[in-house]
């Protein structure tokens, strides 16, 4: 295989129906126009899947993709995307996840995974340094994400990283979330239900290879400047605002009464620089949220435990709460027990197939185990802030730091990383295309 910079130059194709696995080359020249992550996943999906397939059919593909900058010192740059068709007739569903899973996939030698077909029984995919196999997941079915991760690490490799679904995803609930290393969850538009539909419980990766760059010094100069900026500037740019009920950030240990401010270490995603940052409302300049913790006196331990329980069941906290509130429950019931019944499909709630387009949005993500981060509202369709966010996410960057990652910065990092020619106009053009395709 030819030497590639930034990219690892290959992706894994998995057919769950036949059980066949194949490594295919990913030519950087071909991937260049779609930046990576979101864009790359959509490109691979569009290439393989005919228009109009049913979300639940075997032809529907599930794509996990990284960017050429994932796993490097790009600030907040450990992100990867999961793209599939989760709702009939709607646009593709895109989830953006952090944690160390995406970088580990690249260290294992792959830029992306394309999952097609449908397994007859529960399986998980195990990838180590360029080698992959499908294994029986019968013993993992029904397990919470934390148990699933612990069991897999115990039986395979204690340094492996696990991306999996919980009982909610297995039961194909539209409010299910994919969870990365039991900490970082994304409930975007029912993507986890497609894991369940395909009987794919988890994808486990371990890699010891490295990512080489074309022009190291140039890359480091830009990356260091951005890392410094991200720690010192207020992060919300024009056109984006944080929405939602609470913003709690950092995490506390399992089975503890301790609150984040009780001297517990802050947790972050791989490569995160914003863990001590502030978020400001761009119209008033007022600090509305902070990633660390002392600023959140209103948070109580019970709330943190509840969020942890929802994530463990593979539920997306915000949309699951909304569903419980609007459904057959009342507030007096134990929310955690109700969530358990919801995740196991005992409440007879709507499944993925019945969801109407647009009904389940990207309702936020969970960072660091306990913490709920509401979704970021992006600009209007056609507005360049949407394109800029799509471009930053496609570059493997966290949406929270997207305000820093403007087109010239992304272009500069991609140029020095891959050695190919990217201009800021290329990045914006790609961002617009991706934003339109994602319906953002």
């Amino acid at each position: 295989m030819a030497m590639t910079f930034g990219w690892r130059g290959q992706f894994l194709r998995v057919n769950l129906t036949s059980g066949k696995l194949r490594t295919e080359p990913l030519r950087p020249e071909e991937a260049k126009d779609c930046i990576g992550a979101h864009g790359l996943a959509m490109h691979l999906y569009g290439k393989d899947v005919p228009v109009g397939v049913e979300p639940g059919s075997a032809e529907n593909a599930l794509i996990l993709a990284t960017s050429p900058l994932t796993g490097t010192l790009l600030p907040n740059g450990g992100h990867y995307s999961v793209v599939t068709r989760a709702t009939q007739g709607a646009r593709l569903s895109c989830a953006n996840l952090g944690g160390a899973w995406g970088p580990e996939l690249k260290y294992a030698g792959f830029d992306a995974i394309v999952v097609q077909g449908k397994s007859a029984k529960p399986v998980y995919l195990w990838i180590i340094d360029g080698v992959a196999e499908l294994r029986d997941a019968g013993h993992l079915w029904g397990k919470s994400v934390r148990e699933c991760g612990d069991l897999l690490r115990a039986e395979i490799d204690k340094k492996a990283h696990v991306c999996c679904i919980g009982p909610a995803g297995e039961n194909r609930l539209c409010v299910a979330a994919i969870v990365s290393d039991a900490k970082f969850a994304s409930g975007a538009k029912g993507v986890a239900a497609i894991f369940g539909e395909k009987n794919l419980k988890a994808i486990v990766v371990r890699g010891t290879g490295g990512i080489r760059l074309a022009r190291a010094a140039e890359f480091m100069a830009t990356a260091q400047r951005l890392r410094h900026d991200s720690a010192t500037t207020l992060l919300l740019g024009k056109g984006s605002r944080l929405q939602g009920p609470v913003l709690l950030v950092t995490s506390v240990a399992e089975d503890t009464e301790a609150l984040p401010s009780d001297g517990v270490q802050p947790r972050s995603c791989f490569g995160c620089t914003t863990v001590f940052s502030s978020f400001a409302d761009d119209s008033t300049g007022e600090t509305i949220a902070r990633f660390h913790v002392e600023s959140l006196p209103q948070v109580d331990a019970g709330q943190l435990r509840e969020q942890r329980a929802f994530v463990d069941l593979g539920l997306d906290y915000v949309s699951a709460k909304t569903m419980l509130a609007s459904g057959k429950s009342d507030d007096t019931q134990d929310q955690v027990e109700l969530a358990g019944r919801l995740a196991r499909g005992e409440l007879g709630e709507k499944t993925e197939a019945e969801v109407k387009p647009g009904e389940v949005g990207n309702s936020g993500c969970v960072v660091g185990g306990y913490v709920l981060v509401p979704a970021i509202a992006t600009g209007e369709l056609g507005d360049d802030s949407g394109a800029a966010l799509a471009a930053a996410e496609s570059a493997g960057c966290c949406p929270f730091a997207a305000a820093l990652m403007k087109a010239p910065e992304i272009a500069s990092l991609l140029r020095s990383a891959t050695g190919m020619d990217y201009s800021p106009e290329d990045i914006l053009r790609a961002g617009r295309r991706i934003a339109t395709a994602a319906g953002k």
Binding site: G71, L73, R212, M220, R227, E254, S268, C269, G271, T273
Partner: protein, 160 residues
């Protein structure tokens, strides 16, 4: 002469130190080949970066049969001379901190060299969990913090 100071309660487990280390020394982003490593206790939500502490009475230096490890008088680092090194891995066996190890990909001993006095890990650490400080001013901030408690008592006039 600099020294690396670890403040583990500030570590967020982002692994930027490992990336910066492997990139500076091996020209690739690969936590597996870094000369320091972040240890995790995931369930307790703790992480601690560990690296060579450049012992004054360094076991690796004393044990090396090839005299391949020596002190850099300027930076204070214990350096491996890869030309002399016979890769017997005695240093790895005797290090009480487990911070010298063998790189199976590059076929050499990996040990912190303090980046010639300007450690990359400290430069990228976003939270100040790893800092590079001068040996003469090490822990001054912690001493000051401890002293400030006494100062507070004094200013209240309780202390005679």
């Amino acid at each position: 002469m600099g020294v690396l100071l670890i403040t583990p309660e500030r570590c967020t487990s982002c692994q930027a130190c490992e990336l910066a280390c492997s990139f500076a020394h091996e020209e690739e982003f690969n936590p597996e080949r870094a000369r320091l490593s972040v240890m995790f206790w995931d369930h307790e939500a703790h992480s601690v970066p560990v690296m060579c502490l450049q012992c004054e009475e360094a076991a690796c230096l004393a044990a090396c049969p090839a005299q391949a490890i020596s002190e850099d008088a300027r930076t204070g680092a214990r350096l491996v001379n890869h030309t002399r090194c016979i890769q017997c891995q005695t240093c790895m066996n005797v290090c009480p901190f487990g911070c010298t190890w063998y790189d199976t990909q590059g076929r050499k001993i990996l040990k912190c060299d303090l980046c010639d006095g300007d450690p990359e890990c400290a430069k990228v650490c976003p939270s100040g969990a790893i800092t590079s400080v001068d040996r003469t001013s090490v822990n001054v901030s912690r001493r000051k913090q401890a002293a400030s408690k006494l100062k507070a008592i004094m200013s209240q006039g309780i202390w005679p």
